[in-house]
Subunit: 508 residues, 4 copies
Amino acid sequence: MGFEKKEYEFLREIGLDSNNTGSFINGQWKSSGSVITSLNPSNNQAIAKVTEATIQDYEEGLHACSEAAKTWMTIPAPKRGEIVRQIGEALRSKLEHLGRLVSLEMGKILPEGIGEVQEIIDMCDYAVGLSRQLNGSIIPSERPNHMMFEVWNPLGIVGVITAFNFPCAVLGWNACIALVCGNCVVWKGAPTTPLITIAVTKLVAEVLEKNNLPGAIFTSFCGGAEIGQAISKDSRIPLVSFTGSSKVGLMVQKTVSERFGKCLLELSGNNAIIVMDDADIKLAVRSILFAAVGTAGQRCTSCRRLFLHESIYQSVLDQLVGLYKQVKIGDPLEKGTLVGPLHTRASRENFEKGVSIIKSQARKILIGGSVIESEGNFVQPTIVEISPDTPVVKEELFGPVLYVMKFQTLEQAIEMNNSAPQGLSSSIFTRRPEAIFKWIGPQGSDCGIVNVNIPTNGAEIGGAFGGEKATGGGREAGSDSWKQYMRRSTCTINYGSELPLAQGINFG
Amino acid sequence: MGFEKKEYEFLREIGLDSNNTGSFINGQWKSSGSVITSLNPSNNQAIAKVTEATIQDYEEGLHACSEAAKTWMTIPAPKRGEIVRQIGEALRSKLEHLGRLVSLEMGKILPEGIGEVQEIIDMCDYAVGLSRQLNGSIIPSERPNHMMFEVWNPLGIVGVITAFNFPCAVLGWNACIALVCGNCVVWKGAPTTPLITIAVTKLVAEVLEKNNLPGAIFTSFCGGAEIGQAISKDSRIPLVSFTGSSKVGLMVQKTVSERFGKCLLELSGNNAIIVMDDADIKLAVRSILFAAVGTAGQRCTSCRRLFLHESIYQSVLDQLVGLYKQVKIGDPLEKGTLVGPLHTRASRENFEKGVSIIKSQARKILIGGSVIESEGNFVQPTIVEISPDTPVVKEELFGPVLYVMKFQTLEQAIEMNNSAPQGLSSSIFTRRPEAIFKWIGPQGSDCGIVNVNIPTNGAEIGGAFGGEKATGGGREAGSDSWKQYMRRSTCTINYGSELPLAQGINFG
Amino acid sequence: MGFEKKEYEFLREIGLDSNNTGSFINGQWKSSGSVITSLNPSNNQAIAKVTEATIQDYEEGLHACSEAAKTWMTIPAPKRGEIVRQIGEALRSKLEHLGRLVSLEMGKILPEGIGEVQEIIDMCDYAVGLSRQLNGSIIPSERPNHMMFEVWNPLGIVGVITAFNFPCAVLGWNACIALVCGNCVVWKGAPTTPLITIAVTKLVAEVLEKNNLPGAIFTSFCGGAEIGQAISKDSRIPLVSFTGSSKVGLMVQKTVSERFGKCLLELSGNNAIIVMDDADIKLAVRSILFAAVGTAGQRCTSCRRLFLHESIYQSVLDQLVGLYKQVKIGDPLEKGTLVGPLHTRASRENFEKGVSIIKSQARKILIGGSVIESEGNFVQPTIVEISPDTPVVKEELFGPVLYVMKFQTLEQAIEMNNSAPQGLSSSIFTRRPEAIFKWIGPQGSDCGIVNVNIPTNGAEIGGAFGGEKATGGGREAGSDSWKQYMRRSTCTINYGSELPLAQGINFG
Amino acid sequence: MGFEKKEYEFLREIGLDSNNTGSFINGQWKSSGSVITSLNPSNNQAIAKVTEATIQDYEEGLHACSEAAKTWMTIPAPKRGEIVRQIGEALRSKLEHLGRLVSLEMGKILPEGIGEVQEIIDMCDYAVGLSRQLNGSIIPSERPNHMMFEVWNPLGIVGVITAFNFPCAVLGWNACIALVCGNCVVWKGAPTTPLITIAVTKLVAEVLEKNNLPGAIFTSFCGGAEIGQAISKDSRIPLVSFTGSSKVGLMVQKTVSERFGKCLLELSGNNAIIVMDDADIKLAVRSILFAAVGTAGQRCTSCRRLFLHESIYQSVLDQLVGLYKQVKIGDPLEKGTLVGPLHTRASRENFEKGVSIIKSQARKILIGGSVIESEGNFVQPTIVEISPDTPVVKEELFGPVLYVMKFQTLEQAIEMNNSAPQGLSSSIFTRRPEAIFKWIGPQGSDCGIVNVNIPTNGAEIGGAFGGEKATGGGREAGSDSWKQYMRRSTCTINYGSELPLAQGINFG
């Protein structure tokens, strides 16, 4: 069968068709659930159809995955790294097509779509090296003829539930690390980005097949909350990595905790930029624009709150409003577009509702504040002058709305930054070392990401990505994030024939 | 006022009296709650009285502690280390008296009482060095003129809720690390070991005072569940370290999660020893004895399950039963005693109830199985032959009961070990490298502590202490446990004048 | 011009011809020195001709390299990693051809030739990940408003002088790490393996060119001692990595030290295998064979000394002699060959001289002991019964000669192992944990490589490769070897306005 | 026998007398060499007499030390840490007396004398924690049923040769680490500070004795070059830590290298401070004063070169000259003194000679330039205007002479800083992040210590102390300096029954 539009024909290059099976189970593509349609957010027209997974599909998948886990965990880590290297090569060979699909199905602009796929590739490259560095420790024992080890072993299976806004990069953060650590991966992509889920899974599946490995090492489902809940409840899955709202994340954590599983949570952000009086204003304004309107404000790291020093308040706002007026909104695949549509009609409605509440609480809407009438889900990037103690400012509205507030001192600005329940990302623009070091120190930003002279968004994979407080506390990608995907054993080995006790205790 | 018994007079040396104020609030000893009596588990007679804290006391304490946190976190870590060093010296100077108190109030034998205090001292010594090693990272950035940092900052306040069985060592594991990391500590000791709580707090308080530091840096409460709940709910306390049962721990976690706080949980263990056919039987038997009857089976790491290879099954059992017959049970302060009383009358009753259920499920009680009639809480160390699929074997009975089971192969033994919901400690006795390395590898024990040729109990502070699954996943003492007491920020600093984006994205 | 033999035509695929320019200088192939002929060790016939570098070529190369260093060190490390990734891909695409060349020019058997090239590829993959992990530290300062950093910066230029026996892997160990660390590389390959030097350089050069980077980042010379000395003396080269004999290494070190440069030395080994009475004899015998005759005994990690427990002495020797009789010696490119020729006619003569000395000192030559008359450089793998205090046993004879000695206790065996001046590699075969842990502990082997139940040779790249004592103390490949390729700065930054002093000193 | 002056009576408190035995050999004080007199640098009068060691004494000491090494290395590291803790306590109890002795015998002012002793105490405290963190690694192997370890073992004996300017702190840097690492220490103090050597050794000896450990674990000699050479040549000493001039250090390295031993060198510095146009001038001037005249310019980190931005050149110089005029020179034990005498009459003569050469090369001597006529070794703190290409500026003159130069750009200043052959310490004063990060980055200072807004001197123990280039490359105190005091083994353990080879090689 053919695609409805000729411009979708490129999808064949990455294994998609007008009708697609949405689950990769035990190395087979099969799915017996309802058929859904993936829509183009720019016009809400169909791209292709996908058959979702049922709970029976899930069970079959998990059964096979549990079996595959026994094999995968005994393969030496550097050999697992070689598989992940090949996955990276497979993705690299389809970078353009996959990036285009991300842009088409999610709605972000093409450079961001390609950037997102590049991020998984980067993660693969990184994980290859890591596969020889999942180091345990040999710790001096206080007892003669004893050695103490700290050993890291695979968990078995890692569940990954991702959100629409990064429909594949977040999978990459988790799966690349989880796989080299010796875990099988069970992935549930967002219900509204099934084509990306399928396309990425196909490339992984091919690599596994080429290496004569069980396909069930990577088990993947298109589906909704039912599959998500199954993962949360499943005691065969020691770790569930969940990306989404604080509200849903809290529910996931509760379910997983009850069975004494672990969660890795990447939840809501409510990210602020502080601009000091001495800042490089040009750099700051460009950064705010990228952070606030980029991805139509649908990054977890999008800037939602802007704190301006009173001395540069008006000047920055004037420049921002000027830029907002020129921002090109439109088809994300079109060259020059900076702002694409919101992801779904529901997001657009949510924006509308949000703005009407804002209007009741804000001082003034400086620009924007409306949806854009069209077939798609376009809305106007919006700047709002508001008081810091207003209730809406504490909440994450997932769209291009920027709250602007004024401050006098650095201490005030930090307090305002830290007053949100969320703790993902934050930035300061300043050229004073004392401000920089205060900002990153004990009395500075309480977020997981604390930037200086760059926007709140656009993290590199070498660092640990994640946030504190209502953002959930998980860390993904670089640094020692890999430890979350393994279990730690403290091992004391007595190779002598005596039994000395710790703390010099004498027993009997 | 005097103590009722002359033998309690040594308590004056560590600041105790027959009536004691149970809360250290804002640098003052004050308490307005009910008066409880601390009992000697050997005879259930009063040692001394303690006035517990009310919620009003708690509030006053936390208010002061929050203020003190602002000061403490800005003192350089090595200077905080110097304070912890002085605390260690203060404890060292009272080692014998404190150890005697632990033995008297908790009921463990004197060498174990002194060993427990030694463990806090060891933690202090360790934390001093650590105070110059709470290292962040400088990570290479992919962008020119950018540096990426991983910075560790204090959390502010750490709540520590400890249990009766290690009435002060667990405080030491947490507080020594928490303090050098820059956090104030709020401690609630067990309701039945208030004298230890007070005695340790007094020594800490003196050091703070001598250094002109706010006493509220270390805030301490004698009290019950009400204070525990207050800590769990208190959003001023970003981390709650809880030691206790899996059941209560789950409730604590739920409460703390709802306010997006973090938990460090040390919950139930159900620890097994495996004895292989090639084991050094003498070493194994001595270890089993220490692990199963030591501390009257009231360590979280006490051995509760014993898996014996069929070829040495009878021989090991015979030796064990022989040793059990000779074990001296009695006053823990008396020289030669190996098994003291259970901690409370309620523990004794719980043992009685437990044994009656066991009788209905077990094959045979080989020895023990009764309480010992006396004023105290003494019970008989008990060995039970039982089948591995019996329900009681999955549960932690907090007393000297050992379930014995037979196996044929290492794989079977590991499966039996891993079949418990808890995952704290585990040991194997063998002299075969392939068995040792399998045991500590991906297909081996799933516990947090995985020993070879030593018992399940008796951990050293240099390693990370804690367990997986229903044991809660926390890690205390050595290795990188300190990271749990700090918040991590990934900081990217742009010191150039350009704005390159990660993943090579080009925006606008 | 054509190759003399048709079977050399494959060399065209990797950029070689019958006449080759031997230096890559400032991104150009040029060379004005004498013309040498690369010989096939199997028949001493010409493979191809190479024009070597003069000192003038060297100067031109180093001048350009110094300039390129200024550029390369400012490129972000992960971007440098991307270049190394591409180098890995280039090598991977030519794996078979390069492996065949290594086998042809050096003389090792084809699986080893391919294995050697695979090792550089592995190093590239590893270095890519490492390029995001060249982490410095942020260390707590004892002074308020101060931060202490440990920063790692590039050295500038790293000189790499490699030996004939690993004509490209050793370059890989050094260059992959040196490059991601931000250094330019100056390579002098062995004078007798110029074709490999050229072929590898060509692949690197192509990658640099494709990325519009200065070719001088990788500067490569075919040449002899004159070029080596120039590198040693050149104060523009802060680090010289040298692989070769202890004698020459000591001279290099002296020269480099005098200009306060640093050396990374991989010198002679004199590696021993210990076989305990409880060893898996089959495993041991197979390992000894591989270690003693593999690469015709021309690995730095080749086993030269064999210590057999008296109880298994005769049995192991009998099995070994039996295997030696069957070992297929011949053309290393031919399937089934286990032992190829020595690398040069001079090596063969050296073997002959060595054996004649051995004869005067040994008890008995059990097998071998002669050169094999042919056009090539073949010699007989040789086993010698000898006393441990014989002078020849302390020296490295670079060929397939194995000295066998008897021992009674583990302590004796360790003492014999440690009695050599060299300290590269060592292995024990045993199944007793107490022997294993003693062997790797403070009273065990004093070598840099300490194996258990595997041969002395065949290291993985994830660990640090290198040896102690007369082996020179350098470490290459994995672990923290990368630190040797960078300079470390301890930085204390005062961002406050006060000047507190360390150790609480009060000045003025 | 009594001291000649009553004010020396305090020396009895730290075990000294008017005649002292200068070697601690095999746990005994004995010495058969010549008798020397320790002089007070303030008046060149005798403090006390010391009998130095002969080569025979040395041999006896080393023999015992070698034996003791076998014991000490098998004591668990945390137990060794406990010994070092007790050494720290012993020093702490004598802090004031020891500090006074340092001031008296070396000539530094009392706060610096006490600060120096505090530094050893800090090192002891630090080393205690470290004794549980001398961690090896468990590295993933690419082969099934293999584990790869990186193990750190003691070297055996560490020789420590210290200089007069830090007569005990440098011993502390080395010995505290060396001891917890499991090494015995052989110490040769400076010939002109024998009383400090003896006093410190006595405290260490007492701790060893109290713990029933062989005194030979710490072997100590008063003596001159003969003993130093014996240490350098002694192949029983795998590591020689030497502090002194680049010239002597190079000789030591040559001697030690010839026997394939290792050196840890802390040699000459020629340290510069850069003051940018935007600097906090007050902070800068105070820092320059401390760095240039503190310890009478006799720290290896003393500031000898000052680069001033042209815009603040005159102003800074005027302030400096003003301060130099007020600096109180005199008895270092007297309150208020900032500058004491040079250490010996020879140092004073050396200063005189140096100044006369300077006069021939400099533009102008702004202040100072003469010795001060007195019984003691006092000289005038001196400021010299000079051109950066003057020969004397490349050399270390060990006294309070400061060369001042002018610059226009940061790049110029860095180039001037890096133009010295030495590479120990360096500082910049600036408030611009771009300057700070450039300074600590690849194109910044090439020194081992790279400070911002603090002087060149006054390092904390938590970082690694040491320098590049002619400073010798060693690192002492914190970070991973401990690795230099241990030997590293890469261990691969095969616990299976197969023999897979690395790089997938198939042999036979």
